[in-house]
Amino acid sequence: MSDNATFRRRGRWLTGGSVLLLCAWVLGPIYLLFLNSFSSPSAVTGFPKHWLPSFNLDSLQFFIEFQGVASALWNSIQVATLTMVLSIVLGAPAGYALSRFEFRGKSLFRIMVLMTRAFPLPLLALPLAVMYIRVGLDDTPLGLALVHTTLALPFAVLITFSLFSGIPVELEEAAWTMGCTRAQAFRKVVLPLVMPGITASAIFAFVISWNEVFAASVLTVQHRTLTAFLLTSLDVSPLPLKFAGGFVLVLPALIFIFLVRKYLFAMWGIANR
């Protein structure tokens, strides 16, 4: 009896410890980013460090006034949104087909989907840019979103594939027997169940597009994305600006994930209303 209690207590400690560690793993760097973005440049390079920022807005102010940040942010949002929509619109049906239908070359298809990630972008960028310039897709959000969709698609297909596979086909069949068409059954039964997973792959697509630099810096010139616009420059900028720029880059993605978090949580059965 008492053995059992100690065991349970230890288990709780272990769970608590792991949760704490995982939180620190994620929040630690974000906190440092926050701390240093809101500190004066001398505090960033200085020593000893403080736990609270000095709420000096010089570094962040610089970015707000940095010419082109606003339009680059807007371009990034456009490209990431387009990527998200395209990869779900194309990826989810493919995932559904993979899980529900038998067809020739199915396993080959599953491997081929992954192949799009096998070629390094710097290798593809040159011919792609040449083609885009000729076709007129060059320097447009849609053009870049197409490239990012290619990058995000394998994940979208494979995530939705395992999602649909996890939903018993009997549920759908039950709906059919009750008079639903295939499309209705999908919309009324399957879709609500897979929503969290779709959100997860949407977030994935969003983040992949948000973080991608090389294609963005070759395929956009007048309409750069925020990452292409800032990242290469931040690399070689003074430390306080690196932190502030990192903060500027991370913040929109964090806000987005925060907005869609309920759909994500529902995946693990945590109701959040």
Partner: protein
């Protein structure tokens, strides 16, 4: 939950509809220079402000920069008007660049030896020199009392530098000398343009000579008193500001922040000299127009503007790169410009000055060329392998590289017929 979902969908739709809108194109200035955000900002708001017309200044990593230019050249049409880059950035683009020999620069006198470099070995003027810089040394004033006796900071030798670093290490308790040996650092320029010429009077030909063995032995001695965090440093201004390093070598633009933020705490001085002279490496950036530029008249106008004395001075303020034309500098320049300008003048004007040019004619093998020096450094200094054996080994790689590029020697090596030999 439903309303948030609907809200999200509406926002999504709005983004997609608005995505169609496009802005009007400006003169696109596609550059590898002034990349740090503060410099980009200064280029846009200070340097290009006076130009008659709107300029879109974009600073890039050399990789995307080159890929984009190549793509436009291959597609036969493009949006880039003016290219800005280092001498080495242009070498592989030569055929796609417009001949600028007839460009009207409004009577400014550009340094003739730089103009000659701008031909890239052809008969046409492929680029117009834009600005120049070099590598110098900076020390925290706290380090000055530890200078070895009899040493003049403006005429140091490598032996004195080693003695200084040793003094600092032993008397302050930790190594205070620093080199930019990180992945993004420019250590290879120190090896190619400073250490090698100073000891061997050569960068390529005498790569494995007995003098080179001495040079590496000296660097090994120096490394004993070098802050081991150097293998992570990219811009020496940062460890200088944080106090981790008191004496450092780097590119003027990568030291400027320290000299500007705390001008009273730091001194700039020439690089040290070895038995063969005071090796140093001038860096030249240029401006070019790709044959695919949509509006060549506007591009030429922008280049002319960039070379006017007032623009050149504004560029110096913005980027810490010095003018390439004859111009008198005003007195109110930032501290970094005054300090490094004086150090450069002392270095290039020294009796034993030995300028070593950036690698030339290597095209896209430039990266591999640098890698030979970095590899040699890592094997000898970090790996502790025998100097002679490593040099013999890497000399083979270097020789093959020079043959493949078919690049003739550049200063300080004597001109060669055909590929520069590695003896």
């Amino acid at each position: 939950m439903k309303t948030t979902f609907r809200g999200l969908c509406t926002a999504l739709g709005a983004v997609l509809v608005l995505a169609g809108a496009q802005a009007k194109a400006d003169v696109l200035f596609w550059s590898t220079q002034a990349k740090p955000v503060e410099e980009t900002q200064a280029m846009r708001s200070e340097v290009l402000k006076g130009f008659d017309g709107k300029v879109n200044y974009q600073a890039n990593d050399p990789g995307p920069w080159l890929t984009r230019v190549q793509a436009e050249m291959k597609a036969g049409k493009g949006s880039i008007q003016v290219l800005g880059g280092l001498h080495g950035d242009f070498t592989s683009l030569s055929d796609g660049l417009m001949d600028l020999s007839k460009i009207d620069l409004g009577g400014v006198k550009v340094n003739p030896s730089f103009m000659k470099l701008g031909k890239l070995g052809s008969k046409e003027q492929k680029y117009i020199p834009w600005m120049q810089a070099t590598y110098i040394m900076v020390a925290n004033k706290k380090a000055l009392p530890y200078l070895p006796t009899g040493a003049d900071i403006n005429a140091l030798t490598y032996d004195q530098l080693i003695a200084w670093a040793k003094n600092l290490d032993e008397k302050t308790g930790s190594p205070k000398f620093g080199l930019p040996a990180g992945p993004k650092g420019l250590l290879h320029r120190f090896l190619q343009g400073y250490l090698y010429p100073s000891y061997t009077g050569s960068m390529v030909t005498k790569f494995r000579s007995p003098e080179a063995v001495t040079a590496w032995q000296k660097l090994k001695d120096l490394w004993k008193y070098t802050n081991p965090a150097s293998t992570g440093y990219a811009f020496m201004q940062e460890p200088l500001l944080s106090g981790a390093v008191w004496v450092a070598f780097d590119h003027t633009a990568r030291l400027a922040d320290a000299l500007n933020k705390r001008p009273n705490d730091f001194v700039a001085f020439p690089a040290p000299a070895g038995p063969a002279g005071r090796g140093f490496m001038p860096v030249i950036a240029g401006l070019a127009i790709p044959k695919t530029a949509p509006d060549k008249a506007a591009a030429e106008k922008l280049i002319k503007y960039m070379l006017q004395p007032s623009t050149q001075i504004a560029t110096l303020r913005a980027t810490s790169f010095f003018p390439v034309i004859d111009v008198n500098l005003p007195n109110d320049m930032p501290p970094s410009v005054k300090a490094s300008g004086a150090a450069i003048a002392k270095m290039s004007g020294a009796k034993d000055a030995l300028p070593a040019l950036l690698p030339m004619g290597l095209g896209d093998l430039g990266g591999k060329f640098n890698q030979v020096y970095i590899d040699t450094f890592q094997r000898i200094i970090l790996g502790g392998q025998p100097i002679k054996r490593v040099l013999d080994d890497e000399a083979g790689t270097l020789r093959a590289l020079m043959k493949k590029a078919d690049a003739p020697c550049w200063a300080p090596d004597a001109p060669s017929k055909g590929a520069c030999p590695v003896n």
